[in-house]
């Protein structure tokens, strides 16, 4: 393999967030071959990866979404949000209904607390899949908006349910300090990102920690104070390194990539023998509940007068519905936020890993319905 090929492979792996599934794959193999050493490692690293490292990932996502929805951004125009919002709500209701229904029918009451995990959509996986199958189609931003809305709802559900820390007073004061300092940096026209992220971010992180909120979201309140530029391309696409803001985002990506690898490594490992009712419930919720919910909600919305985005037909919508059935990375994050160590978490993880098969279903649907690149 030449140096150039290696460079291209590394580029694809970095650009498409593939380090996370690579880490996840290593974790699953490790957990099923040398379980004790895997779980010792995962236990030691989970705090620094899930509570600290992932804060940079969510901040980057917040930065990219902010830039995409601001005037001039690819996802601006609030009119476009109506139908995806309806679809997202339909997907959430469908997934959660199927999950809770299955668990109730199985009389496994201990599993009910895992329902928020069924909400998650892996936005990156959905985006790259659809961009490959349906390039330049309105289905791509449509699906991305569904994923963003769904994940925001899911993360809001998880944030105050964090189990890890004792709540303490004083967090609100620290938060005010963090925001005040960020505002001061902004007023004094500090353009570099790092003082915002490492100084204000550290204060905000402590504030979240002390208030019993998930500290992985701690940098998000700081993001609005950063310098933004409208993103004419969708989120996940790296902008050209042509000015200070884009350069800072490139560097930010360099921090986030190893974090995502470690996130996959630390959280995806599960003994596959632990599959049980919770795994099937999660899988059905993602693969059946969400697509059904999206289709029903969009059906009702179009009957009420809303329209599908330009040139998008029902068969494209069906492919979108299946493509959003993969929870994977976001669902794994939710799982670690909602559930503590134990069989409930293990079962949910197996279902989440299995939900990656949603992309296969989307691929089959695209082939059968002759959609996009698979039309011929």
């Amino acid at each position: 393999m030449t140096h150039r090929t290696l460079h291209r492979v590394a580029h694809v792996v970095f650009d498409r967030f593939l380090l996370l599934p690579i880490g996840a794959l290593i974790a699953v193999v490790w957990a099923n071959t040398a379980a004790e050493s895997y779980f010792v490692m995962a236990r030691r690293l989970s705090f620094s990866v899930n509570e600290i490292g992932m804060a940079f990932f969510f901040a980057l996502m917040a930065q990219e979404v902010t830039e995409a929805v601001m005037p001039g951004g690819a996802l601006h125009s609030w009119r476009r949000w109506t139908l995806p919002l309806v679809a997202a709500i339909g997907g959430i209701v469908g997934a959660v209904t199927v999950y809770i229904g299955y668990v109730q029918l199985s009389y496994e009451y201990s599993l009910i607390s895992a329902w928020p995990i069924a909400c998650a959509i892996d936005a990156a996986a959905t985006y790259y899949f659809l961009r490959t199958i349906l390039p330049r189609s309105a289905a791509v931003p449509f699906a991305l908006l569904i994923a963003i809305v769904t994940d925001v709802v899911a993360l809001v559900i998880v944030a105050p349910r964090h189990l890890v820390f004792e709540e303490r007073v004083g967090g609100a004061t620290l938060m005010l300090g963090a925001l005040g300092l960020a505002a001061l940096l902004r007023v004094t026209r500090v353009r570099a990102f790092w003082p915002y992220l490492f100084v204000c971010g550290a204060l905000s992180w402590l504030a979240f920690y002390w208030e019993g909120l998930h500290p992985a979201f701690a940098l998000i309140p700081i993001v609005p104070f950063l310098k933004h530029e409208p993103r004419p391309m969708d989120i996940f696409v790296d902008p050209p390194d042509d000015d200070a803001v884009h350069h800072a985002e490139h560097e930010w990506h360099l921090i986030v990539q190893p974090v995502l690898f470690l996130f996959g490594l630390v959280n995806a490992g599960v003994a596959l023998k632990a599959y049980d009712t919770g795994s099937w419930a999660m899988l059905l919720a993602q693969l059946v509940g969400r697509p059904a919910g999206i289709l029903l909600a969009v059906g009702a919305a179009t009957a009420a007068g809303l329209h599908l985005p330009g040139h998008m037909r029902w068969r494209e919508l069906l492919v979108v519905a299946f493509a959003t059935s993969t929870g994977f990375a976001v669902a794994l994050f939710l799982a670690t936020g909602v559930l503590a160590t134990g069989p409930v978490l293990a079962q949910a993880k197996i279902g989440v890993l299995g939900s990656a098969s949603g992309l296969v279903m989307a691929l089959i649907a695209a082939r059968l319905l002759r959609v996009g690149k698979l039309a011929h």
Binding site: F39, Y107, L111
Partner: protein, 289 residues
């Protein structure tokens, strides 16, 4: 001829290794000892559970145990008011009438709200602790081992100056059950605490079998998850296995006096399928059949 002898010797050794232990010890039923019974995965409401309840009642005539520990899945299926009668109060009616108390742990089939059911004596807690004579019992909820529970386990065991420490919960951290087996993730979280604070014995269920594990880091582990449900032939004996029984429902009787713990596992027909003594030492246990 040599090959035949070799084969016979091999089969003999194999047979010895995999055969369920033949119990030899009886419970001494000493005066002033602590006596209790153990059931796990029992709440089916089926005739087998009623049979086990009847055997427990008979056993109590000769071995007057004061209480029963329940290892989770105290109730399967629907869990409405009538189910508490059919799956708990009627199968153990004679024991309950005689004043025997049940102390339950939560299993994966249990509605977490059942912790408020008076018959389970959990006082609304997912995890709790109590002392009887010289024994500290620590009851855990292994469905979700959250950091608060881990901190509670740490402080509870640390503060305990009781001679014996017995933990019980639903999911086994050592098991040769074919369906579930050892939960290594839970083991990584719990075992260091058990070792650090000198836990002597651990009971779990979940696998619908009876198994006694050879002492691991000084701790004897029991799986007793077949007091209602049963998964016949599910044990895959390994180097961990000290004894097992997977052909019928099982409950256990335990007696503690001084530094000795006597145990006896009995089947639904009343047959003793495992028995022995665990001698408590400062850190190292010895188990005698």
């Amino acid at each position: 001829m040599r090959r035949v002898f070799t084969a016979i010797a091999f089969l003999f050794l194999l047979g010895v290794r995999i055969a369920p232990a033949q119990p030899t010890s009886a419970l001494p039923s000493l005066s002033d000892s602590l006596k209790f019974a153990v059931v796990g995965d029992n709440g089916t409401g089926d005739s087998e559970q009623y049979d086990v309840g009847a055997r427990m009642t008979e056993a109590r005539n000769a071995f007057p145990f004061d209480f029963v520990i329940m290892l989770g899945d105290n109730m399967y299926g629907r869990q409405q008011a009538s189910d508490f009668v059919d799956k708990f109060e009627r199968p153990y009616a004679m024991l309950l009438h005689a004043g025997v108390r049940f102390f339950a742990a939560l299993g994966n089939h249990d509605n977490p709200n059942n912790r408020s059911y008076p018959g389970f004596n959990m006082n609304g807690e997912r995890y709790y602790s109590y002392v009887r004579k010289n024994v500290r019992f620590v009851v855990l909820d292994t469905n979700q081992l959250d950091p608060r529970q881990l901190a509670w386990i740490d402080s509870t065991l640390k503060q305990s100056s009781d001679e014996w420490k017995i933990c019980y919960f639903h999911h086994p951290i050592y098991s040769d059950g074919g369906r579930h087996g050892s939960d290594v993730e839970l083991r990584v979280a719990l075992e260091p605490l058990f070792v650090k604070y000198g836990v002597d014995v651990v009971y779990a269920g979940h696998d619908h079998i009876y198994e006694r594990i050879k002492p691991q880091k000084g701790i004897t582990y029991f799986v007793n998850g077949s007091s209602g449900e049963l998964r016949k032939g599910d044990v895959n004996p390994s180097s961990l296995t000290a004894a097992y029984f997977d052909q019928d429902q099982v409950f256990s009787l335990v007696e503690i006096k001084g530094d000795d713990l006597y145990f006896q596992a009995r089947s639904r027909t009343g047959r003793t399928v495992d028995a022995g003594t665990i001698h408590r030492q400062t850190r190292n246990q010895t188990v005698a059949p």
